[in-house]
Each structure stands twice: as C-alpha cells, then as structure tokens.
C-alpha cells in the first residue's frame, strides 16, 4: 500500500536521494533507478507526470534541475502523490530557503530527517510543514 520509494535525481540522471520502503538488493536498486530515470527524463513538459514501469507507477515532477520521482502502488491516487511531492519541496524550501540540488547533496541526512517526518513505511505521517520541521529545528538549536 502507498509509496514504495522516493528518488531525487538531477538532470544528468545522478541519484541525489533515495529512500525505499521495501526490500531491494543493491543491484536491483541500481537497475531500477537506471530504468526509471531513463524513462522519465526522456519525457517532455506536455506529457503527463505518470509512467508505468514494471509493477510500479512512477509519479514524477521536475523542479529546475531536480526531478522528484515517487514509486507507488497501482491503486494509489496519482494526483495526490503529485501534490505530496509539492508539499515535500515546499517543506524543504522553508528549511533551506529555495532548495537546490547542492542543499540536498550536502545535507543529505537533513533531507532524510524531513522525509522521515513525512513518510513512514510508505504511508503519510504528517502534512503540516511546521510539525514536520519542528524536531529538526529543535535538534539544530540544541547542537
């Protein structure tokens, strides 16, 4: 049920963040990422944001040079996932201030912390940006 993986990939197809909610071996991940990225990056702006691949449905959205790709089950609401990607980006924006590829690269663990507050085991935990960010800000303050 729900989200099976979340990927952030740059224009060149390099993975910048990967979070899986199911067990895949390293080789399976590499293969899957390669296939999906090739498929999604080849599509143009007018085409829809959904791609079917193997038994996943990929919902993707592009923000400047960064692609957000979310793999979901077949019975998941694609439009809601699209909205969720946007929420994720807004949350990161609020924290990093206009988030970019480098923010995520150099603060990989923080991006993961945010994601952890939003998604657990493929289900949505929290949709309020301040609720998502408060534990992270608390940690920053204390250190």
């Amino acid at each position: 049920m729900g989200i099976r993986f979340i990927l952030m990939v740059n224009k060149q197809g390099q993975t910048r963040l990967a979070q899986y909610y199911e067990n895949l071996t390293l080789e399976e991940r590499r293969a899957l990422e390669g296939e999906i990225v090739r498929k999604c990056l080849a599509r143009n702006e007018q085409q829809c944001s959904f791609v079917e691949h193997r038994n996943y449905k990929i919902v993707y959205r592009r923000y400047a040079s960064l692609f957000f790709l979310v793999g979901v089950d077949n019975d998941e609401n694609e439009l809601a996932i699209l909205e969720f990607i946007h929420l994720l980006v807004e949350t990161m924006d609020r924290h990093f201030g206009n988030v970019c590829e480098l923010d995520i690269m150099f603060h990989l663990e923080k991006a993961h912390f945010m994601l952890e507050e939003m998604v657990m085991n493929g289900c949505i935990v929290e949709t309020s940006k301040s609720n998502i960010l408060s534990p992270i800000q608390l940690m920053e303050k204390s250190s």
Binding site: F50, A80, E83, L87, I124, V125, S142
Partner: protein, 875 residues
C-alpha cells in the same frame, strides 16, 4: 557540536565525488573512502563514528556496498546522545533491511528507546521500528507500541499508529489488539493523528473481517461527520493547499469510507450525502481539488449503488476526460477502466474520446486508452473499433506498434463475426505491422484459412495483392508463401471468385515470382526461406510449366551454408528428379488443420510432441547425416498431432518405435498406405511400396496371448515382421529365447573376455535376409560390434538400398557406411554394414532394435520394417 557542520571531511568527500569526471574516477574515490572508514571501524574510533556513517549513507545512495558499516549503526543507537542516536537510526533504516541478522541485535536497544523519557528518542525508535521491523520484532515490541498509541504527545501517537500498520502486516494475528486503540484515534483533532489513524483502521479492515464489521458499526457515522467538518472547515493556513484544508486527509478518509461502504448498503447509505457534497462542491481548477474528486469518484463507484451518485461520478469522469491537462486525462482513463464493470453503458458513451486518446502523443495515455478500448470492445462495436485501430496502426509510433498489434489481433480473434472479416482484418494488420505479429497469431490465421475452404481462392488472391505492396513484413510473407504453395492453382485460375473481388490476372510465373522474391529477400529469416522452399516444391507439381525454373531455384540452395536449407534443397531436388511417381501425392494440399487441436496446443494441453522427442532415436542411415525432424517439418503443423496408440502405453516400447511409426506395429499386417496427412514420414517413405505380406491375425493373437513381461511383448512384436513369423512359428521362437535367457548367467563370465556370441537372423522377409554377427572388444563389455549382412533372395536387383536402425534411449548406436547400395538378386552377393551399439544399462537391459530397409525394385520404392529382439541376452 553538530557532527556535520564541523566535519569538513564529509563535505570534502562529496566535493571529491562531484569533481569526478568518469565513473572510474568515482569508484577510485569511493574505494579510498571505504578503506579509511573500515580502518576507523577497526580502531573502534568514537569521535568520527557518526561522520563515517553519514559518509556511508552517501556512498550507499550512489549504489556501492556498505554492509561493513552496519554494526556502526548499532553502536550509535546504543550511545546516549541524541545526535548520535539520530544518525544511527537513520543509518539503520537506510543501510539495513529486515533480512539482516543484525536486526536481532537492535531489538533490545529499540525496546529501551521506546520506553525512554525523552519523547524525541521515543519518536526515533517508533519511526525505525515502523520502517524496518520484522515479524519477530513485531511480536516482541507490539505491547510497547500499543501503549504508545495513548501517549500524551500527538506526534508520538501518529508514529505509533503507522508503526502498528507495519506490525499487523507482519503479524496479522495481532490485529485484534489494535482495534480499540485505533478506533479512539479517529476521534482526535490533530491532523497527523487523524491521517495515520484512518490509515491504521483501513489496514485493520483489510486483515480482519471482525475489525471491518466493528468499524462499520461504530465509526462510519463518526468518519462521515469528521469529513463533513473538514470539508466545511474555515481557512487553516498550516494545512491549506489551494483553498482546501488538508487534501491528503480528505483522500485517506474517502479511501476508508470506500472500504466501509463496499458490500454494505447501510454504511453506503450513511455516506451518500457527504460524497455528493464532496463531488459537487470541490473546486476542480487545481490539482488538489481534482485529486479529491478522483478519490471521491472511485469511492462512489465502489460502494453500494445509489443511482444519482453514479451519474454524478460518471459526469466528473467525462469532464476529466475532456480536460486539457494530460494528468487529468490519464486518471480519467484509469478510473473508466474501473467504472466499466459498474456501468459499461456510461463508459461506452465516451468511446470516441477514448479512441482519440489511443492516438495521443503521450505514451502513458496511449497505453491506458488502449487497455480501456480493449475492454470496451464487444460483438456490436468490434467492426468500427477495429477499423479505427487499424487505421491508426498505419501512423503509430514504432514502439507502440507492438502493443497495438497484439491488442488488435486479440480483439479480432475474440469477437470476429465471420471468417472473411477475420481474414480481411488480419491481412491488414499483417500488411501494416507484420513484423510485430507474434508467431502464434499467424499460425492461428493459417489454421483459420485452412478451415475456410470457400475462401481459399479469395485469401490467396488478397495475399498476392498485399505482398506486392508490403513485402517487407515478415509474417505477411510467410502466410502469403504458405497460401500460394497450397492454393497456387486457385490464384492463377481465379477459382472461388467472390462477388466483391476484382478479377486479377496472375500467371503461373507470377506466382512463382512471389515465392522467388520471398526466398531471396535479404531479410527473410530461416523459417520464411524454408517455408518458401516447401511452397516451391508444391508449386512444381501444381504448375508443370514452371517446373524447370522451380527445380533450378531449389537447386541454388544445394550449397547453402545453412544446413536446414541445404538439406531441404537436396531432398526436394531428389524428389523432383527421381520420385516423380510419388511427388504428386506427396505435395498434395494439406488436409484441413484441426482448429481444436491447435487451440488446445496453444493452451499447452498437448504434451511435447512425439516427433521431436523421438526424432533423436532415428539413427544415421548408412552413415549419411540426416535428422528426422526436418522431414516432419515438411508439412509443419499437422505432423505433430499423430495420436499415440493407447495400447503401446509403456514408454519402453515407445522408445523403440521410431518417430511417427508408433501406429504401425499396433496394426499388424496392415499395409502402410497413407491414412491421413499426418503420418508424414510414413507417407514420405511408404508411398508406392508394395504392402508387406499380410500377417494373419490369428498368429498375432497367439503371440499376444503369451505376452507377459515387457520383453516377451517385444518378442511378439518382432515376429510381426511377416515372414519371420511364418518361418519361426511362435511356439518355436519363444523357447529359443527362453533358451538364450537361461544361458545368460553362465555366459556372463565368458563375456568379459570378449567371447564369441552366436549369430542371429535379425530379419527375414520373402526376399531379404539380414544376419547379425557379434563381437566384443576386450575391456568394454558395454559395447557390441555388429556385423550385418544383407542378402537378397529374390531374382530382382535391389538398388538404392538403405538400411536404418533405431534403438531405445538406453542404447547408443553408431552405423558405419554400408559396403554398397546395390544388392544383386538370387543371393548372389551381399551388402555388409558395421554397427556399434553401446548399452548404457549393460547387465540390466538387453539389446533391442528396430529396423527399416528401403530399396528400389524396377523403379518401385519398397519399404520394409522389422524389429530385432532375439539378440543374445548378455550383450
């Protein structure tokens, strides 16, 4: 001190990796880093443990192995500081998975942290548990999680709820413990708790019917009320998206209502109003609103019917379908697939729009639309829909043609109202996208053509025309070549003209031209060329005027480097050159192919065909290389359908009987005249033979009455070879074998030294006698050398004498070339041939062999067969 801001080395590593120009450079950097981290791990370095783990997570993300860092996660989790724990848990979730034994070790730390006084640490532990817990951990820690569902801080309760989902997925038995606490989560006001609580309840309903029943009764109204409050709630900045408060919560609740309403009229009734309100009031100009509408439509379609709502839902889908946003159209198509089972009529109304979507430039939309069209087809609309799809096939993208072709073929095969329409459509598809058509599809077409006897002429002419235009489509070429081979005469003479056809003038030479083109196309593959070769053979008999040219064409492949073509060329050439008398029978039109058998075989009901499994048992005749399979290929499809006579049930016997001859020994004394087109090899070899001398049925009966063990049954079979039965009456031959059998143990020791074995008469008919002399080479008791001598007792000379032998699988047979191929009459000479038999089950099983002898007398082909089972026992 924040480990990440101070530790410049992590940044350095990332910079170094970014600076890499090639994958090889990157690997080198990673290798160096990993080596350093391993060294730090070995030294049990405390200060940089978290930094090393952060590096490992980056390396892991790039797709390199990081298993050596797993224990470091556990150490960090066990430490007391929050930042260490934080990074330790993150590493645990990223680097480990539940299959690792390391997980066993973490259970204790998790338990401690779930009971920690710091709620953030409790939250970390819950999150980790929710992401990675195994069934064992679920059992161990379920009580802690259950308790945390009532924790004072909502941020812990929401995580505990999702953690519970993981637990009941791993151990469904635990579901009942969670029903009550989950129900109380639904009453909360905190959005995080509500959204997770609703998801937990949905999951519980999936695993436990009791839970579903409980929530239906206790919570339906509550959820409906909560949803109503949410829909009507005033602006809430923290959750607002495009004017809607928390669309994610909307969607999860609609999902939960769907589960509650499905199959329950009361619950469905209860939610009617709110669904109608959501469906009508939600703004559809923003993505968030559409996401809710989409979910709402699905819920309306799934719950128990109440007419008005369904109309509302279908209308929303209609609006979606005509939306200019591709995302919206995509989900509309997706939802119409589900709606079709509920209200097919309503979906049919959108047929034209859906057909347009099949032609969209977006592959995702095309794929959805095509699948939907496939579901929309029925008997009444198959013709216009197929027409549209085939027209589109002409302009479709190359990568879409495969899918499209498969679907069209499937639709045409499934709903075709008449054969002529089926053939027409298939020819169109073959002409447009023949290269995408799967083998079983054109096989099926040939079966249909073969069965439509009144359309043979029409079809072959249509194929002739199609070939002129689309000769680059492989499967069209194959079907055309097959039909021209079979029905070439109808093509030339305009036989079976239908009213709708324009007459065409095709000469015999034109028809041969087609096959000529097919065989010479540089991109024709082996199958096509081989089929063309057969078509040529068939045409040579149908068109005597072109016979010379055809012979020349076939002969060109005598030197082909492809064995299959070379062999066919040589065989067919010899049929044309020296077997004129049997050619016309041989190349007769194929008997009508059996549709039922073909369909059955496609379904995989028929076991592996006889011909291929036994083909190998046919040994080399006179040392000339020749496999049996291609002969069977000669008439392709039907040859595999030879029924296995039920009486020859034992595998042992089947092994003995070569190829399709299975039927022959079961019909003692019957002549081998062709029975049907199926016994191909039999036909090929036996046409024109004088039937072997009839064996009397009574003799067989006597023999079969004595049959007890499998071997004595074989004895019986062997004496069926007509004259040996008369010369050695059953009463005599059986004791002889007994005698030999009795000797066996005594001879066995002598055998080891390569002793001499008595010669036997292996086969004797009115005019032919075959004797076997045996010898053994010292040191290999398994191998027997047989010196066969053939003697002709008739006054006539035998020419083209060919001796063949077959043995069961446990034997290996090698034939040396024969000493000659002409056998003078009246016993005035002989041919000899050496055979080498290796018995893989020496001492357990005895030699047996089946013989076939072919020769020519006065230009007539004769075939004789027999079985040798009177071999000395210990060979």
């Amino acid at each position: 001190m924040n480990p990440f801001s101070s530790g410049t080395r992590l940044r350095d590593m990332i910079r170094a990796i970014r600076a890499c120009k090639t994958a090889a450079e990157e690997r080198a950097v990673i290798r160096k880093e990993c080596a350093a981290i391993r060294a730090a791990i070995d030294e049990n370095d405390h200060d940089y443990r978290h930094r090393n783990l952060a590096k490992l997570m980056f390396i892991h993300m790039l797709g390199y192995p990081t298993h050596f860092g797993q224990m470091e996660c556990l150490k960090l989790i066990a430490s007391s500081g929050f930042p260490e724990k934080r990074i330790g848990y993150l590493g645990l979730m990223l680097l480990l998975d539940e299959r690792q034994e390391v997980l066993m070790l973490v259970t204790n730390s998790l338990k401690q942290d779930l009971n920690h006084s710091n709620q953030y640490i409790v939250g970390l532990a819950l999150c980790a548990l929710g992401n990675i817990c195994s069934a064992e951990m679920a059992r161990d820690l379920a009580p802690e999680v259950e308790r945390l569902l009532q924790f004072r801080d909502p941020n812990i309760r929401k995580k505990a709820a999702l953690c519970s989902i993981r637990i009941i997925r791993k151990v469904p038995d635990l579901a009942e413990n969670f029903v009550n606490p989950a129900a109380s989560l639904l009453k909360e006001k905190h959005h995080g708790v509500m959204i997770t609580g609703v998801q937990l309840c949905t999951e519980l309903c999936k695993h436990s019917p009791e839970a579903l029943e409980y929530f239906r009764k206790k919570s339906t109204e509550a959820i409906v009320k909560t949803l109503k409050d949410l829909v009507n709630s005033p602006y809430a900045p923290e959750y607002d998206i495009a004017g809607i408060t928390d669309p994610f919560l909307h969607i999860r609740m609609l999902k939960f209502l769907r589960v509650l309403g499905q199959g329950d009229a009361d619950a469905s009734d209860c939610m009617n109003d709110i669904l109608a309100q959501v469906a009508t009031k939600t703004e559809s100009n923003k993505n968030a609103g559409n996401a809710i509408l989409y979910e709402c439509v699905e819920t309306i379609m799934s719950i128990e019917d109440s007419g008005g709502l369904r109309v509302l839902a279908i209308n929303i889908l209609g609006r979606f379908l005509s939306n200019r946003d591709n995302n919206i159209r995509y989900v509309a198509l997706n939802m119409l697939m589900k709606a079709i089972t509920v209200d097919g009529q309503a979906v049919q109304r959108h047929r034209t729009t859906i057909l347009e979507c099949v032609k969209d430039s977006d592959a995702s939309i095309r794929k959805r639309a095509l699948e939907l069209v496939y579901l929309l087809v029925n008997e009444s609309n198959v013709k216009p829909l197929t027409k549209e799809l085939i027209e589109y096939l002409e302009v479709a993208d190359q990568e879409f043609k495969g899918d499209l072709t498969a679907k069209i073929c499937s639709i045409v095969a499934k709903y075709s109202p008449e054969k002529i329409w089926y053939i027409d459509q298939m020819l169109k598809v073959l002409s447009e996208a023949g290269n995408f058509v799967k083998d079983e599809v054109w096989h099926a077409l040939i079966v249909v053509i073969s069965n439509a006897s009144d359309l043979h002429g029409y079809t072959v002419r249509a194929l002739y025309r199609a070939f002129q235009i689309s000769s680059e489509q492989e499967s069209l070429v194959r079907v055309a070549v097959w039909c021209i081979g079979e029905y070439g005469d109808m093509l030339v003479n305009n036989i079976g003209m239908l009213d709708i056809e324009d007459p065409i003038v095709v000469t015999e030479a034109d028809a041969v031209d087609i096959v000529d083109t097919a065989i010479k196309r540089h991109d024709s593959d082996l199958t096509t060329k081989a089929m063309a070769m057969i078509a040529l053979l068939k045409l040579s008999s149908r068109f005597p005027s072109c016979s010379e040219r055809i012979n020349h064409l076939i002969a060109q492949y005598k030197g082909s480097l492809v064995l299959e073509l070379q062999q066919r060329s040589i065989e067919f050439n010899s049929i044309i050159a020296s077997h004129q008398n049997m050619k016309s029978v041989l190349v007769e039109r194929m008997p009508v192919l059996d549709e039922a058998t073909f369909i059955g075989k496609r379904a995989g009901n028929i076991p592996a065909s006889l011909s291929t499994s036994n083909g190998a048992a046919i040994s080399l005749p006179n040392g000339v290389s020749k496999s049996a399979a291609p002969l069977v290929d000669l008439l392709d499809l039907s040859s595999e359908d030879v029924p296995v006579p039920s009486s020859s049930g034992s595998d042992f016997i089947q092994d003995l009987l070569g190829l399709d001859l299975a039927a022959a020994p079961e019909q003692p004394g019957s002549n081998f005249a062709p029975k049907s087109g199926t016994d191909v090899l039999l036909d090929l070899l036996s046409i024109g033979t004088t039937p072997p001398v009839q064996n009397t049925a009574s003799a067989t009966d006597i023999l079969s009455n004595q049959e007890k063990s499998p071997t004595s049954q074989l004895d019986g079979l062997s004496s069926l070879s007509p004259l040996s039965a008369s010369k050695f009456p059953a009463a005599v031959s059986a004791p002889t074998i007994d005698l030999l059998g009795g000797l066996a143990p005594n001879v066995a020791s002598a055998d080891e030294n390569g002793s001499v074995h008595p010669s036997i008469v292996a086969y004797e008919s009115g005019s032919l006698r075959i004797t076997f002399d045996f010898s053994k080479t010292a040191g290999s008791p398994q191998t027997t050398l047989i010196h066969a001598t053939f003697k002709n007792l008739s006054p006539n000379i035998y020419s083209n004498f060919i001796f063949q032998a077959a043995v069961p699988k446990f034997l290996q047979l090698h034939l040396d070339p024969a000493s000659g191929s002409t056998l003078p009459g009246s016993g005035n000479g002989s041919i000899t041939q050496k055979l080498r038999v290796t018995n893989n089950q020496h001492g357990k099983k005895h030699l047996v062999m089946r013989l076939r002898i072919a020769y020519k007398v006065d230009d007539k082909d004769i075939l004789e067969e027999g079985q040798v089972s009177n071999f000395p026992r210990n060979l």
